[in-house]
Assembly symmetry: C2
Homo-oligomer: 385 residues x 2
């Protein structure tokens, strides 16, 4: 049969999908499973967004839009930066993308030549390295531990910068750790990347889902940066596949040609729906949901610590707790398998997010109700007593 | 500022977007423009699809789906191959993609190593070569003329096959020419590609929009092929960004991992909407629309010939007429500019689709009403008398 390109051999499957699939099969056979594996908010998209999308459909908004997105939506995102951060970002520098995934693809295509690489953390979002692989580049994985709140600090980046490194891709808050880069850390990292003549890319898809700690956008520090964002997490629009980028002005025409060729455009009714996400009515609901995630985190972290999971620092945001299982196991895949099959709690093994200490860590997602979290904790407590 | 990767320098802008933008600006200043430039059906998506998507939204279908698409939709596509072609294609071999664009990206990522290439026609869909460029491959453009109905025959493919060629990407019907590959041509091309140990990829996104000539799917000939298809053209769902692929069984796990990483999933409400496209009520409307395109083609081609445009062969399908302007000009960009600015008829210069005889060809899209086509023809007749 067909011969396949070498790049696909190195792409790992997601363990979380396997966990989810197995959990669903168990449910189909009548078993009650507590889901703490999926990185997707458990709330359906808010009513105002749904209603706006339905109106757009009724009005026949079923044609292509500009490859850069609906102008009104780019303006709304600009207004959001003003509202949330007091920043004046021209809509011209904001590009709507097919999910943050589409933005990551464009970033890789624009910034990385074959043979070049970008620094990224291990643990980190597993797809990042594969966008680079697609264009012949490499994700240069930098082991980071809880002592640095799992973040790529300037000092760590300097130590790992290689001759073929052209930039750094960081996430704040990060997946799977929920940790943010603080203002001084962002400043120092940006200064280091510039000193190295590289490009800084910051994934801010979990902005809006932080619980106390001030979470600055890199755009408060510089315009000379690529920011990846998404309607999936705070706005709760995973299944709509919409994201955005904020980019330096001179990158816009390059990215426009790329987007025209690679995507043509994004979901039109989705873009109309997203417009309503910026209305006060929707934002009020979204902030309530953020508060619910906040309460879940505040419940889950101490409860897991009590059982014996290692969580030295309270995660700042996102939907996750990245916890050490050293006390119980040195094989996170086997551990997760046992928790699922014997104790009916679905969690994700650390190996989904890298290799560094991956065998002794797991990710809990608090994307299920407080009652379910309590049930899951009770089961884990019993299992690990 | 940032340094960009070399690949983006070689990506040309779409002239058609410039034409469309200029036409819209002229309209905004009160000028009546006849649009024959856009490759997008002029009909909004049919009612049953819209209603199904709205119902899905009401039911909270706003979460991720599987990276391969909704199982029900993959089954519907399988049923469509049975209905239209009498073929039994297992749903397992059908992957839903974010537009044909997403399918082309996956095809390039799966099949082409850096430094390798695929044969494709010049003229042809301009994005094809850029998907290959993204992964470090090259589109190996093969000049084809009206004497071969602008198609890549086995003989032409054999002549242009290079040591680094790993396959051929053809479209039937094709953009910008509307021409199909007949059964014996598909058979011969497949045999040649196999003899060369390559992979055949067939873009069938304009299937369903052919006007008389029998239009076989390559799947009637072999399962050892990658088929790209789309909900944009026959199903009239451009702004929904949905397509599909049919692939050999052993490619499914590879493509699943790629799709998980690069897309996560496709628009969920869009996929639910698409389910209704296969119902008899929707298909009846879609077939009526096909008949309207048929009548437009039958009007437009003789009318253009009468004015002096060179269209030696009646195009078999799609939404286009690719016509020689040799009688009027040897500069298609200047010709289109004059037709738009002076005579208010928007058409696309051949340079959008390649280089071979591109300066003496233009593309007419019959994606506007018969009245508008008649108005456009009258203007062209006067302009070129």
């Amino acid at each position: 049969m067909s011969r396949y390109a070498d790049r696909v051999k190195g792409i790992e499957p997601f363990r979380v999908v396997e966990v989810l699939t197995q959990a669903r099969e168990m449910e189909a056979s009548g078993i009650d499973v507590v889901h703490m594996e999926a990185g997707e908010p458990d709330f359906a998209t808010v009513g105002p967004i749904i209603e706006r999308a339905k109106t757009a459909l009724d009005e026949g908004a079923t044609y292509y839009t500009s490859a850069l997105g609906l102008p009104e939506l780019r303006e709304k995102v600009a207004g959001f930066y003003k509202r949330q951060y007091g920043l004046d970002i021209p809509a011209q520098r904001i590009l709507i993308t097919p999910g943050a995934s589409g933005a990551l693809l464009m970033m890789a295509a624009l910034l990385v030549n074959p043979g070049e690489g970008m620094l990224m953390t291990d643990p980190g979002y597993p797809c990042n390295r594969n966008f680079l692989r697609l264009v012949g580049g490499e994700g240069q994985l930098v082991p980071v531990g809880v002592e640095d709140r799992y973040q790529l600090t300037a000092a760590i980046a300097e130590k790992h910068w290689q001759p073929n490194t052209v930039g750094a891709l960081v996430a704040s808050p990060a997946n799977p750790t929920g940790e943010i880069l603080r203002r001084n850390e962002l400043e120092d990292l940006y200064a280091l990347v510039k000193a190295k003549n590289g490009t800084l890319v910051v994934d801010e898809i979990y902005h809006g889902l932080t619980y106390g700690e001030e979470t600055p956008s890199i755009l408060e520090i510089t315009d000379d940066v690529f920011v990846i964002n998404s309607f999936s997490k705070y706005f709760g629009m995973t299944g709509w596949r919409l994201g955005w980028m904020v980019v330096p002005e001179d990158a816009v025409p390059e990215l426009e040609r790329l987007a025209q060729n690679v995507f043509i455009s994004m979901s039109t009714m989705g873009q109309y729906g997203a417009l309503a996400g910026f209305e006060e009515e929707a934002l009020a609901i979204l902030d309530q949901r953020r508060d619910i995630f906040h309460r879940r985190r505040d419940y889950l972290v101490p409860a897991l610590r009590e059982i014996g999971f290692g969580i030295p620092h309270m995660p700042d945001g996102a939907l996750y707790v990245y916890a050490s299982i050293e006390k119980f196991s040195s094989d996170s895949e086997a551990f997760c398998k046992e928790m699922l099959e014997v104790h009916h709690v679905a969690i994700t093994p650390g190996v989904d997010f890298g290799t560094y200490k991956a065998n002794t860590h797991v990710r809990f997602a608090y994307t299920t109700s407080m009652d379910q979290l309590k049930k899951g904790v009770a089961r884990l407590k019993k299992a690990l007593a």
